[in-house]
Symmetry: C2
Subunit: 108 residues, 2 copies
DNA sequence: TCAGAATAGTCCTTGACGGGAATATGTCGT
DNA sequence: ACGACATATTCCCGTCAAGGACTATTCTGA
């Protein structure tokens, strides 16, 4: 569901965590140190982000690597695409370009 | 701020209102009827959406037309673009295309 | 100016959320 | 098995936001 992802990103600290994870998977303590947050709250926020699918965990020794997941972000992006006509004057032109790209794709 | 828009869209009913407004500006009562909500809550949600800039009002007789605003949506879209590499294999190719488009733009 | 329609605001209650502090679980090295 | 480290969970509390019901405002038409 799109709006649950929005809700998760609506919290300032979770938003920061997501931005922090953009540069790659990180263990909890990196987030704690990088964003100056307390460890328990980071774990709690990560739990929420995991529940909505925005991140996934993968154990690495005694630490857990949290990594952004493509699917929900792609979903949000697609949702916003449906509103593109509201601001993008080149909307139609852009559409054509995308079609061209996809056509090229099929040739490979 | 991007995360305030996310917060506003995180509420299920506000999300529905935004989707409902995608087809164009509408008076409050249309939203009330279309989404089966009570009028006061719709007004309250619209107030929130207005505060974060997602909608704007324009009086029309005794009713007020609420309309989606491009700026915040474009902002969200741009924010998500920065995460595109996470899911879009054609990311680099797409980047080139965008550059080309912007180059053409300057020529006009 | 009065009635009625469209919308906004207020008061209240309730449930959810975030933060802090302390504690629990789990894992590694020795 | 033990100690140290990394992370998760629990409890408590204060705050905030959403919905319901009611009321207030503003505009229109007669």
């Amino acid at each position: 569901m799109t709006h649950t992802s929005f809700a998760a990103l609506g919290d300032p600290n979770r938003f920061r965590i997501v931005e922090f994870l953009r540069s790659g998977a990180k263990p909890v303590n990196d987030i704690v140190a990088g964003l100056q947050l307390n460890q328990p709250q980071v774990s709690k926020h990560l739990k929420v982000l995991k529940e909505v699918g925005l991140v996934d965990v993968q154990p690495r020794g005694q630490q857990r690597l949290y990594e952004l997941q493509a699917a929900p972000l792609r979903e949000l992006h697609e949702w916003l695409e449906r509103y593109r006509q509201l601001w993008d004057a080149r909307f139609d032109a852009m559409d054509e370009v995308i079609d061209e790209l996809q056509a090229k794709e099929k040739c490979t």
